[in-house]
């Protein structure tokens, strides 16, 4: 059924997201936009540009750099920031490790995904940010499907799923107690396809790894892992070259590639419509357990 869909972007979603961004700036003293270099945060930057036009985007971007990013993502980030004249704060997970606040994982599944929460919470405290705008969508994962648009976190960044504030109509209550902060999700109601369709409509640039390219990969647990110096491999995991692309962009140690020839946006959309695997099916970090995301959220993950 999905392949017959006429993908006209639902304008109501943009109107809603712009409304949410404006409420965030009006209700909080120091909002910040959590920027990963992925398509969802690129979409947020576009929405912010539109929400305050002809004024400037009235907040900074914050990038928590794990040190395990795809080089293409970092390159793109720097290009975007320069082109649009944005302010960006970069904080490094490596510093948290050096300070002894976070400890590197070991073994072949080692990643810095969980570690970035430590760096993020420190950056929030340091910058005194009371609202962190994120590109999470409710269709991504079932714990995210439960989250409010203004999601209150305690001093330790924790999400209390059982005690969420009621959120009625489009009335947003951003009042918080000292030490608390709010995670704001303007594109909560967008699906993966909505985002792609928006990228097409708005003619947005995105990192090259979303498009088909040749790269060294290894096969592990039925997934194609990008081969890099960050990945701990075993002797029998031999890298080989393959045409792939990435459907979601996280770290090189927790994002799997999909075999693909799609090198244009239209082809990517056609591919997603026919895909039998969900977007987060390529997120190795979600596969740790059924409640992986809920547990990370409780710990302050975005």
């Amino acid at each position: 059924m999905t392949n017959q869909i006429n993908w006209e972007f639902p304008q109501a979603l943009e109107d809603e997201a712009i409304y949410i961004l404006r409420e965030t700036v009006a209700q909080f003293e120091k909002p910040v936009l959590l920027f990963s270099g992925g398509k969802d945060s690129i979409t947020l930057v576009r929405l912010a540009q539109k929400a305050f036009y002809p004024g400037k985007i009235p907040f900074s971007l914050l990038h928590v750099d794990t040190g395990h990013n795809f080089p293409e993502t970092i390159e793109f980030r720097d290009w975007l920031v320069n082109t649009l004249g944005l302010d960006i704060i970069v904080r490094n997970v490596q510093d948290s490790i050096d300070q002894g606040k976070a400890q590197e994982e070991t073994g072949k599944y080692a990643s810095r995904n969980a570690l970035q929460t430590v760096t993020l919470l420190d950056a929030i405290e340091e910058g005194k940010f009371d609202a962190c705008i994120g590109g999470a969508r409710r269709d991504e994962e079932k714990a995210r499907a439960k989250e409010r648009i203004f999601s209150v976190r305690d001093e330790f960044g924790q999400w209390n799923a059982k005690m969420q504030r009621p959120e009625l109509f489009d009335i947003l209550n951003g009042k918080i107690n000292i030490g608390e902060n709010v995670r704001v999700f303007p594109i909560s109601n967008w699906t993966e396809l909505d985002v792609w369709n928006y990228i097409v409509r708005e003619k947005l640039e995105i990192p090259s790894i979303y498009f088909s390219h040749e790269r060294e990969i290894i096969e592990r647990d039925g997934l194609y892992w990008p081969y890099s110096s960050f990945l701990n491999t075993t002797a029998d995991e031999v890298p080989f070259r393959q045409k792939v692309r990435f459907r979601t962009v996280g770290d090189m140690t927790c994002t799997a590639a999909v075999l693909s020839e799609a090198d244009k946006l239209e082809d990517i959309i056609a591919e997603i419509m026919e895909a039998k695997i969900s977007e987060r099916g390529a997120r190795i970090d979600d596969k740790r357990s059924e409640a992986a995301m809920e547990k990370r959220k409780q710990a302050g993950y975005f």
Binding site: R22, P54, P166, I171, I277
Partner: protein, 415 residues
């Protein structure tokens, strides 16, 4: 492409989550890896079938207990439209989450277990759908397989429901009854042939043809100001625009408007949507409006047309649903947020609390507790410009915020 928002509600074990799982499954909206995860999770629970409800119960505590605690949002699309389902809990102690989920819905889907018929929860859900004035009500009589697909049983439930409607429905509400079996997929997205006496549409067919409620575009024009955009750059040195989302009605360039509460008049010079200039802005569109003359307006103020000025209220009579563990106490001051405008408000009186099962008003209550629904009188520190919820929902609702712990404690509907 349009977005249809649906709220589902049912009582414990009515099979609500299974129904949603079925809708997703039958519209090919469950990717293979999620389906495999469902098979595996069902097996771990010792079930010999794939439990589709595990798809929506996203929290550990929910999967443990097999119940829904909080609203989950689920998305699927057909060639016709995009759907957002707010899957809300049926348990009485989570009524506030149900109201949360239902507040944005155009369709309310009520599930009834064919064996049990109308229960206390059905009354509550029906009452809330009415309170929110959701225009479309779909009553799915589920588990028809467990009553041998009996037409007589279905008719009995329809008749019982009809009685409730006669007592409490509202004009313009459209009600549809469908006999279904979500476990076997009967009348959800297709027919399996088990119910040959029913010739009406399946649930999905019904949802596909529901007409969109654009009634808010015909309501009086209301533009709550979210912020003032003043770039002060060389290029836009004198630019002063009012950013907001049109709550109801529409505004055109050249319209004469009044800013409330100041009462100053002006004319709309431009309506802007990023780099585009629009001739008109409709309800729910986010725009920036600039005016001909300089007038005093800021966040929380409202632009309206000079011939459609809303009432100025300082004493408010409203139905509310109480949503906090701490009870409402008359005499206490709260923050009232109407759209994007906040004022202090004091609860003068609890007029009555409604017993939603028996449609009786109980007048001798000194306080309202969690999940109570009733009528109160409030006094605000400054006037608000609101319409009665029944005539213009987009400008007739508010929330109450506890000043001490900042949480949202109630939703109100202005009389």
């Amino acid at each position: 492409m349009e977005v249809l928002r649906i709220a589902t509600s049912g009582s414990v074990d009515d099979g609500k989550s299974t129904l949603i799982g079925r809708l997703l499954y039958d519209t090919n909206s469950i990717p293979q890896d999620k389906m495999e995860a469902l098979h595996a999770a069902s097996k771990r629970k010792g079930l010999d079938f794939t439990d589709l409800s595990l798809l929506t119960d996203g929290l550990v505590a929910e999967r443990e207990q097999g119940i829904t605690i909080d609203v989950a949002h689920i998305y699927f699309s057909t060639p016709t439209r995009k759907y957002i389902i707010a899957d809300t809990p049926g348990h009485i102690e989570y009524t506030r989450n149900m109201v949360t989920g239902a507040s944005n819905a155009q369709v309310s889907l009520i599930l009834i277990d064919a064996r049990r018929g109308i229960v206390e929860q059905t009354h509550r859900h029906f009452f809330i759908a009415n309170l929110l004035r959701i225009p479309y009500l779909v009553v799915c009589v589920n588990k028809m397989d467990l009553v041998d697909y009996s037409e007589a049983r279905f008719n009995q439930i329809v008749e019982d429901f009809q009685q409730m409607l006669d007592n409490a429905g509202f004009k313009g509400q459209e009600v549809k009854f469908i006999p279904i079996s979500s476990l076997y997929g009967e009348n959800v997205a297709s027919r399996t042939g088990s119910i040959n006496w029913y010739n009406g549409s399946t649930l999905l067919e019904y949802l596909e043809q529901v007409s969109f409620d654009h009634e808010d575009r015909n309501h009086p024009a209301r533009f709550p100001i979210q912020s003032v955009i003043r770039p002060r750059t060389t290029e836009y040195h004198d630019f002063r625009g009012f950013a907001g989302k049109v709550a109801s009605g529409h505004f055109s360039v050249g319209d004469e408007v009044i800013s409330l509460p100041s009462g100053q008049k002006s004319r709309i010079k431009t309506i802007e949507q990023f780099e585009k200039q629009l001739p008109v802005a409709h309800a729910r569109e986010s725009v920036v409006i600039t005016l001909e003359g300089e007038i005093d307006s800021s966040r929380g103020n409202m632009l309206v047309k000079t011939n459609e000025v809303p009432p100025q209220l300082k004493e408010i009579s409203a139905n509310i649903c109480w949503m906090d563990q701490l009870p409402l106490t008359p005499g206490k001051t709260y923050l009232l947020q109407h759209g994007v405008n906040r004022v202090k408000a004091k609860v003068q009186q609890i007029n009555y609390i409604t017993d939603v099962t028996n449609h009786v008003q109980v007048t001798d209550k000194a306080s309202m507790t969690l999940n109570d629904i009733g009528r109160i009188t409030l006094k605000t520190a400054a006037p608000i410009f609101a319409d009665p919820y029944q005539s213009n929902p987009a400008n007739g609702a508010f929330i109450l915020i506890d000043e001490f712990n900042n949480t949202t404690v109630a939703v109100g509907f202005i009389e």
